[in-house]
Every structure is written in C-alpha cells, then in structure tokens.
C-alpha cells in the first residue's frame, strides 16, 4: 500500500486535470491505497464550489469529489489564498470579508499552503494534476 499526496490545479470542465485526479483517487482507494491529502490549488479550488450546475447529462465533478471525500473520510484542503481570489468561501470567510454568501461544498476545508507542504513530506508519492 502506498500513500499519495494529490495536488489538483485544474478547474472542473476547463481541462482534463481535475477529472483525471478524481479518477486516479477513486482507483487508488479501490485498490487499497491511502490518500494522505487532497490539496485544491489555484483554479483547482473551483472543484469545491457548491454553485456548479453542469447539464444533467454531464458528470457533476464537484459533487463526485464531495461523495468520494465523505465516503472515505478524505482530508480535502482548499488553498485559502487561491479560493478567496476566485470567490470560493466557507461561512467563516464569508462573514470575515462581509460577503453575501458562502459556497464551499461540505466535506472540503479551507486551509493554508503549509498543509500541502506537510502532505508532501508525509506521503510516499506526490502527484500533481495541472492543466
């Protein structure tokens, strides 16, 4: 069994990066491997948006991530600096910045880049899914 730290830098529907990351994680978990941490960085933070509504005949990637995270109890961190810049906020950040709403999908957690550094140091392997 290996442990993986997974960096997701691609937004859903903009490139193949995020979907490839999701499929990798799904297969890794199905084969008994451990996901040390998911880290959504740069445009990857859009994977954690509650407001994505793809057409009904298209794959709902943010919701699929949420299901995977909740089913396996994964540690899914959304980079705070990347998220704030792109309008992805949890309730706490929405209140702090006096925004009218929060839109972070339940299951995801806002956190700093240090958590990615920690995951890189702990995991057996590091994978970067970038556009």
């Amino acid at each position: 069994m290996s442990s993986f730290a997974v960096l997701i830098q691609g937004a859903p529907y903009s490139s193949q990066a995020a979907l490839s990351a999701y499929r990798f994680c799904q297969e890794a978990l199905a084969n008994g491997h451990k996901i040390e941490r998911l880290f959504f960085y740069q445009d990857g933070v859009h994977n954690a948006s509650l407001l994505c509504v793809p057409p009904q005949d298209e794959f709902h990637l943010p919701r699929a991530w949420q299901t995977l995270i909740q089913q396996h109890g994964l540690d899914a961190i959304v980079c705070i600096a990347s998220a704030l810049k792109r309008g992805v906020v949890n309730q706490g950040e929405a209140e702090r910045h006096r925004l009218p709403a929060a839109n972070l999908l339940p299951g995801f957690t806002i956190g700093g880049l240090g958590l990615w550094m920690e995951a890189m140091a702990k995991a057996d392997r590091v994978l970067d899914f970038a556009p």
Binding site: Y41, G114, M117, M120, A121, K122, A123, R125, V126, A130
Partner: protein, 121 residues
C-alpha cells in the same frame, strides 16, 4: 515521485510574467518556510526571472524577479538555471549572482533523482 525526507524539486519553464512562474515561486518560498530545503530550477523562458530592473506594477502583477535575491532568506542558497536558456535569452552567466548555478546538459537528471517530489510549472 516519492515524498519522505528528500527535498522537493521545483522546475519552472515559464517566463517572469506568468501565473505558472508565480505559482512555482510561491510553492518554493513556502517549502523554504517549512524548512524542506527546496531545489529550484529555471528552464527555458523562466530564466527571465533573473533579468534585472523588472517592475510589474503596470501589469498589476508582483515582480517575481525581486523574490530571487530573497531566496537565501528562505534557506535556498542556489538557483539552478539551464545554461543553454541563458544563452538563448542573452543573459550573461558571469554577471549573475553567485547563488545562480548554470546547469550543464544532463545535470537535471541528477537533481530529479535526488528529489523527494518533482513539481513542474
């Protein structure tokens, strides 16, 4: 790419005014803060980070070139740069800071082999 105690290797291939370069510098500095002793390599257009007198104000961007001399404060003593890219961009290797180390052809392989994780931007 394996993690553990080996230092991360960050490779930048994009020029001084790109998000890719900004992301690479951000991760390099953060790794330095967390004492992971990151190794930074500039290839291709990324060597433009070494050009003097840059100012990103008019573009509304941070001047990434100003971060290069500050790397030492983050425990990063050397920046490895592709020697051929220096020539291609008209940058005189002799005029660069002592911390900038031109990479001979093939030397990158040794850096990759010694790295705990490799991130390419």
């Amino acid at each position: 790419m394996t993690g553990a105690a080996k230092p991360p290797l960050l490779i930048c291939r994009h020029g001084a005014w790109t998000m890719a370069a900004a992301t690479c510098m951000e991760l390099t500095l953060t790794a330095g803060v967390f004492e992971q002793k990151p190794v930074l390599v500039l290839l291709d257009a990324a060597v433009t980070l070494l050009l003097p007198n840059q100012n990103g104000e008019s573009s509304g961007l941070k001047t990434l070139a100003k971060q290069i001399p500050a790397l030492e404060l983050y425990g990063i003593e050397h920046v490895h740069v592709e020697a051929a890219a220096l020539i291609a961009h008209g940058i005189d290797a002799a005029a660069l800071d002592a911390g900038v180390k031109p990479l001979a052809p093939g030397a990158l392989a040794a850096l990759v082999a010694a790295a705990g994780a490799v991130l390419v931007f």
